[in-house]
Symmetry: C2
Subunit: 328 residues, 2 copies
């Protein structure tokens, strides 16, 4: 089996590569070949015995996408994107990378398939940011898309491409509408949602974290481990089950910021939460309140996608994966 991961130097891409090379595909098929693509050189996964190709290129640059699919991978995980904050700050970059890069990749697949009959599985990292505006407390896959960020608009446009190219048989597409991933390891990125991770990660590491929104903010989250699980599960699905709508809301844990902080205190003690400093930012508060508060992911759940059931579990997973010295 040959898998291609774009955005492979990113946090999810890296973890996905590690899981795939360690465990193979979920159905037990061995991974013989792995192609990793990103604008910076992706790390080589440890102990991979198959053929590894690492490509440093920008999918948004004319012609570059074709080289990534020349080896006709069986499955393409398309994760490459700039994050919401950056897409809002730099309109051209957001459209160029998030939309243009996706379009280039899909067209490269289409053109390669035209002469060979190849039509790979393509798992697209979409986002709950495709939703926006006044939303009911719980939204499902039938809810209409009025994204309120350029990032969300770009992801929505890509979802239409994935659906249309699937309908026409160029790909077997699946769009994974990711909730906010929490707890992200490492340094803060430019995503407006970054603080959801920061208020857990920094205190666990004895550092100050800024909380820019009210504690009543409710939001949908899943751990990095669950996100990788979504992609691996999407790898095995019978895509015929998706019907005409291949873009799926993923199961997510709906919690308030206050509940996050309570979980942190239960897992790491009262000293940890003292590192959280309230510093309201009206722009971030407004943006975040425009996102989904809770989801009804019945389609995805019926297809076998799963997520954590408590935020305590998510905090413990972070410690387990990212803080080896602190494992219980």
């Amino acid at each position: 089996m040959h898998a291609l991961i774009t955005g492979a130097a990113g946090m999810i891409g890296r973890k996905l590569a590690e899981r795939l090379t360690r465990d193979g595909a979920p159905d037990g098929k061995p991974l013989d070949q792995l192609t990793l693509v990103d604008v910076v050189e992706p790390a080589a996964p440890a102990n991979f015995g198959g053929v590894l190709m690492r490509m440093t290129l920008d999918l948004a640059s004319p012609g570059s996408a074709a080289s990534t699919v020349a080896g006709r991978p069986d499955v393409i995980f398309h994760l490459a994107a700039v994050v919401s904050g950056e897409a809002e700050a730099d309109l051209e970059k957001g459209y160029r990378v998030n939309f243009g890069g996706t379009r280039n990749l899909l067209d490269a697949v289409r053109l390669r398939g035209a002469t060979t009959g190849w039509a790979p599985r393509l798992v697209f990292a979409s986002s709950m940011a495709v939703f926006g505006g006044d939303m009911p407390d719980v939204i499902d896959d039938d809810f209409f898309l009025t994204p309120q960020t350029s990032y969300g608009a770009q992801k929505a446009m890509c979802e239409h491409l994935v659906a249309d190219y699937s309908r026409r048989g160029f790909i077997r597409g699946i769009g994974i509408r990711l909730p906010t991933i929490c707890v992200r390891p490492g340094k803060p990125n430019k995503a407006a949602s970054g603080f959801f991770s920061g208020i857990i990660r920094e205190p666990l590491n004895g550092q100050e974290a800024i909380l820019p929104v009210g504690e009543d903010v409710r939001h949908c989250m899943a751990s990095p481990r669950s996100a990788v699980g979504f992609f691996l599960h999407a790898m095995m699905l019978d895509t015929a089950q998706l019907g005409i709508q291949p873009n799926l809301i993923m199961p997510a844990l709906s919690v308030t910021v206050a509940e996050q902080i309570e979980a942190l205190e239960r897992v790491a003690g009262s000293s940890a939460v003292k590192h959280i400093r309230r510093q309201p930012d009206a722009a971030i508060d407004k943006m975040v309140r425009g996102w989904g508060r809770a989801v009804d992911a019945r389609r995805a759940r019926a297809l076998g996608f799963v997520v954590e059931t408590s935020f305590d579990e998510i905090v413990r997973e972070y410690i387990d994966e990212e803080m080896p010295a602190h494992r219980a």
Copy 2:
């Protein structure tokens, strides 16, 4: 007032230019300047005393869009597109023209506005084809988009661009989700919906018409006169009323093919309907049944958009506008 019309050589574009030059803007403002753009040279409207510019170019070609907006029109009517049948038959052309041309135009406006603060009204010709799949009998603006043609996917992607560029202040955008326009004058075009007009137009002109679908097919329609009326009304709206969703389902008359034929018989007699020949085409039948059967255009109606109330009226309008020798 300076108006720009893309797709100005098309049927609606031509009628819109004629109405604008004859009557001025709906609020009585005179039209001083009119720029007409199409891939073939647009006709000059009769008796126009203002500055007329006609441009023959392809908005999808790099750099061409900038020249169309150099004069900073007050309102842009963006009608240029290839029709659904052609976009389905030629995937690359459909994406290049319907999506790429729109993106180029919007980016040309954005870049021109960046140095001048100009943010024109932009009225985008969208389509009911943004909807698809299993639909309830009546759909409204909150219904989710799962287009089942590439044309519909392209229009949906453009709607997201129009919404995002409006949100960011580059344009004051309004998307007009047109129902099928009937009765189209002239020769059949490549639209899969062409027969809805053909079964009226050809019999009225003593010619045979092919009916490729069952008479129970129900569909949403508006006359060319109503379509022009939608665009003119969109010219005057306070766009702040559109909130975060600038794409509007237009009012439409919901009729079955059988009801169309009955209206034709009432207006033009039983001899007319004998020119209709049933020749089922499973592909067209399937495509057409995937489109909206009836709409709840309460948002558009509340904003003042109007449409015909009977198909008899639509048949009589065709005779009045296109068959001067037969006027009652």
